[in-house]
């Protein structure tokens, strides 16, 4: 056996890289190895569907090479982990190396669901491959009207492509975004000339065309699948670690195996704000926050992770943001601001459980952030105040939280 002992982090994406750096910020002095299957320096994924795909930016590094070096993090790039032995406390890499560990963090993320013959967008290499096909005038068919599909649609339309989005559900972004907010985004796509066909199943892909469930055909030059992701759990599963829609962890990211934690897109964790419902988040900020939280847990902290789920999506000139779980709401309140931005608040038994907003640029950011803080405090704000754009939201933070 060679290698460091100490902490080994498997996965050099947002979660794993943040965890490796946070170990040092938390004062850990032992060896830290960061193992990633992708070549090159760790990078941010959000720009892949926007600036990187548009060709206006290269990869955004997650940190500088100097920061990794200063932190004494050994980054083993382009070497996937192939086997985990939780009894022997060893991790085997594709190149045959075996690393010993005291504690190990699985931050293996997720991979895109694929359709044979379609591009996907998960890695920088995926973005580069797709970018070459998005030439002006190209007919682009996108299967799936979720975030990746709609962000790619917006970028492709801006590049001069003729874009058709095929979504099986009755409306786009159905899983995560309130209907009213999704409708605003859909209207903006239509204005940009994008043809979004909801309630439309895909039967199969054929060269140069998408065959629809109703027998219709969409002629295309390139197809992109944006049909969700699958947690990367193979390493954990083969090691005998409990897996059920993600690596099963407790509130502090401990798996069923001793000294092995899991965090980020690959894990399913109980959320204390939502009756310990199990969540598996696919979000940049969750990956980052969970990485930092998992670093503290690797060093023995036991407090549960309780951050409010949050994400954003840029589509054309609009940005939408969602905090909390819209699906947990039983009542809804809408605030339409004079600048045209809209906010949606979801309540359950009076308690705020979700907030969403859409507006040009970062117009809704401050209000959504205040909503997020209210959710974290289990606040029960007056619905009339939430609905009235003349009532400032920030003072609601000064109302004492309800007991319990």
């Amino acid at each position: 056996m060679t290698g460091p002992g100490g902490v080994v982090v498997v996965g050099a994406g947002e979660c794993g890289t943040r965890a490796a750096l946070a170990l040092r910020e938390e004062g850990y002095a032992g060896p830290v190895a960061l193992v990633g299957g992708e070549p090159g320096h760790p990078y941010e994924r959000p720009p892949l569907s926007k600036a990187v795909l548009a060709g206006s930016a290269g990869p955004t590094p997650l940190c500088t090479a100097e920061q990794l070096a200063e932190a004494g993090v050994t980054h083993l790039a382009g070497t996937a982990a192939t086997a985990l032995d939780t009894a022997a406390h060893t991790l085997t890499l594709a190149d045959g190396r075996v690393l010993g560990y005291d504690r190990l963090l699985l931050a293996t993320g997720a991979r895109a669901r694929t359709l044979p013959g379609a591009h996907v967008l998960r890695s920088h290499a995926d973005a580069v491959a797709l970018r070459e096909r998005l030439v002006s005038g190209a007919r682009v068919g996108i299967v799936g009207g979720g975030f990746v599909g709609l962000e790619v649609a917006a970028t492709a339309a801006a590049l001069g492509c003729a874009v058709t989005v095929v979504e099986a559900a009755p409306r786009p972004m159905g899983r995560a975004v309130p209907e009213r907010i999704a409708a605003r985004a859909a209207a903006r796509h239509a204005e940009a000339g994008i043809d979004i066909r909801c309630g439309t199943a895909v039967a199969r892909l054929e060269p140069g065309r998408i065959v629809l469930g109703d027998g219709g055909v969409v002629e295309v030059d390139v197809v992109v699948a944006g049909i969700g992701s699958v947690p990367e759990t193979a390493l954990a599963q083969a090691a005998g670690i409990a897996v059920s829609d993600g690596v099963v962890v407790d509130g502090a990211f401990a798996t069923s195996a001793p000294d092995v934690l899991a965090a980020g897109d690959c894990c399913s964790f109980p959320h204390p704000l939502y009756d310990d419902r199990r969540l598996r988040l696919e979000s940049w900020r969750a990956a980052q926050e969970q990485g930092a939280h998992a670093a503290r847990a690797l060093l023995g902290a036991r407090e549960p992770y309780a951050a409010v789920p949050w994400f954003w999506s840029d589509q054309h000139d609009l940005c939408l943001q969602v905090a909390g779980l819209p699906g947990a709401a039983t009542e809804e309140v809408v605030r339409v601001r004079p600048d045209g931005a809209e906010l949606w608040f979801g309540l359950d038994a009076g308690r705020l459980v979700a907030v969403a907003g859409i507006g040009v640029g970062t117009a809704v950011a401050k209000d959504v952030r205040i909503g997020e803080l209210l959710i974290a405090r289990r606040a029960a704000p007056d619905p009339a105040a939430l609905a009235d754009p003349a009532v400032a939201l920030k003072p609601l933070l000064r109302v004492p939280s309800p007991v319990g």
Partner: protein
């Protein structure tokens, strides 16, 4: 030559809030702390080019509206991931209800 530029009136900024200010093609953010002191920083976050004035001020920190990077707006210090680089600050002064910032 550094020069003092009138950025706004004190009443234009609520306590614990921020407003944008543009001068000579540059964007600035002008802050009023909860105890009514005024501060100024560059208008854009150092992470990606997002306008800080759309973010939330809490106590002595400003939070980027897009990615939640935080800065101490009194010193410009970056307070952790994803922001890696401090934001530049500018001296301020208040005279007769007007907030001035000193720009290079």
């Amino acid at each position: 030559m550094p020069q003092w530029i009138a950025a706004c009136e004190t009443d234009d900024v609520d306590p614990e809030d921020v407003v944008p200010f543009e001068h000579a093609g540059n964007s600035y953010a002008v802050y009023r702390s909860p105890d009514d002191a005024f501060f100024a920083t560059d208008g854009y976050c150092t992470h990606e080019r997002e306008l800080l004035c759309d973010g939330l001020v809490m106590g002595g920190t400003i939070e980027c509206p897009k990615h939640n990077g935080r800065f101490d707006y009194t010193s410009g210090k970056a307070l952790g991931a994803p922001v890696l680089v401090d934001v530049r600050t500018y001296p301020t002064k208040v005279e007769d209800g007007t907030v001035y910032i000193e720009v290079p």
